[in-house]
């Protein structure tokens, strides 16, 4: 399975890559929504999962989610917001835009894995 990690912080991308690698995902990364869309346009196989920050330069995570959900080729990706935006209405907006799940920073590794398990993305036997 393949995951795309989208965050303007390289450190956060590394943390997320580390976690999903434990779940046997191959990863690609992007520093903002536009870079992610550009990368997706070049990929023959669309990733199964995208972990998406909200506040990024050029194109934020909410806009990215909206664009992906409107694109027939990308619709099937599972979209998980991973962000410090934690107001109730922000979470509602993200889910309404089509995000499948939402992880608030800071998150522990165990919590992230449990969220991915909710989406059926954790092979049985894998745990934190």
């Amino acid at each position: 399975m393949r995951a795309m990690v989208i965050d303007d912080s390289r450190a956060m991308r590394m943390i997320l890559k580390r976690i999903v690698a434990k779940l046997n995902f191959e990863t690609v990364e992007a520093g903002d929504g536009q870079e992610a869309l550009d990368l997706l346009a070049t990929m023959t196989e669309v990733p199964d999962l995208a972990l998406i920050d909200w506040n990024m330069p050029n194109m934020n995570g909410l806009e990215f989610v909206t664009k992906v959900r409107a694109d027939a080729r990308l619709r099937e990706m599972t979209l998980v917001m991973v962000t410090t935006e934690s107001e109730q209405n922000q979470i509602v907006r993200a889910l309404a835009a089509g995000a499948h799940e939402y992880v608030i920073k800071p998150f522990t590794e165990g919590a992230m894995i449990e969220k991915l398990a909710l989406l059926g993305l954790v092979p049985s036997g894998a745990s934190s």
Binding site: Q88, I91, Y102, A111, M112, E114, A117
Partner: protein, 281 residues
């Protein structure tokens, strides 16, 4: 003061055995910090005295307090997921048929700790019972501190990240400062009661479903039997009992029969279950 190696080993073995938590060497600071409030609550002069006593005389209540103290912040919502799926897919449809006159179900989360299980059950019922149905959930625990926490129904950011779907977070919680609190609408279906499962239990209206998960592991066989006996008195004859993933009534209480419920099992009183019983294997 740092924990002695012997004390640290004792705690490590206890939590590994009873809760599958691995404490690597170097965590002495953590263990001690977490046990100071526990020692205070039970009236010991310090952690060393508390642990010396616990090693001298096994005490399931205090063992439980140690486990709770070391798993704070790590309690998940919808823990293990499968029992909640079983509730949705097998048990509730069955109860909707058999309780169609009263249109009400009663659940008991026995050993509710900080409340995640009780509120997870509430969310499950809120989402899966037909309109016009009511439900009551009782959570019980042996610890007054835990009952208070559960009644407060407030959880930190890291706690609500654990196994709780975001859609449930926005629907059933509201922000309370840096925390998230269960909404009054959901909260009013849930109550908590201080209760010791090894002692005779108060007379209460019986329950349709009892979650007795990861409680029996703390007890020896004789106590397991008496806990199951006590709990059975509060289960409807056709009710459902859920135990922890690694637990079973087999070898402890012949009155129960294991019934497959989706990817997990539940237990029902043998005599009430007709042959060819409900339950998808």
């Amino acid at each position: 003061m740092t924990l002695s190696q012997a004390d640290f080993n004792f705690v490590s073995q206890l939590v590994r055995r009873e809760a599958a938590i691995v404490l690597a060497p170097g965590k002495e600071y953590l263990v001690e910090a977490r046990l100071i409030p526990v020692a205070r609550v039970v009236g010991a002069t310090g952690v060393a005295e508390f642990l010396a006593d616990l090693q001298r005389r096994p005490n399931p209540d205090n063992q439980r307090r140690v486990i709770d103290a070391l798993t704070t912040n790590e309690t998940s919502w919808f823990r293990d997921r499968e029992p909640f799926a079983a509730l949705t897919d097998v048990v509730l449809p069955d109860l909707v048929k058999s309780r169609s006159t009263a249109r009400k179900v009663r659940l008991w989360s026995a050993a509710s700790s900080s409340g995640q299980e009780a509120y997870s059950l509430a969310i499950t019922l809120q989402e899966n019972l037909p309109p016009g149905w009511n439900f009551e959930i009782m959570g019980s625990d042996i610890s007054t501190e835990m009952i208070k926490r559960a009644e407060k129904a407030e959880y930190s950011q890291v706690e609500v990240n654990r196994g709780l779907p975001a859609s449930a977070l926005v629907q059933y919680f509201e922000r309370a400062g840096a925390h998230w609190r269960i909404t009054p609408a959901l909260r009013r279906n849930v109550s908590f009661k201080l209760m010791n499962l090894t002692a005779p239990l108060p007379a209460l209206a019986p329950f349709d479903v009892i979650f007795l998960r990861n409680v029996l592991i703390y007890f020896d066989v004789a106590t397991k039997k008496s806990v199951l006996r006590n709990v059975s008195r509060l289960l409807r004859p056709d009710g459902w009992l859920f135990l922890g993933a690694a637990e079973t009534t087999i070898g402890i209480d012949d009155n129960y029969e294991r019934v497959a419920t989706g990817r997990t099992s539940a237990y029902r009183v043998r005599s009430a279950v007709p042959s060819g019983a409900v339950g998808r294997g």
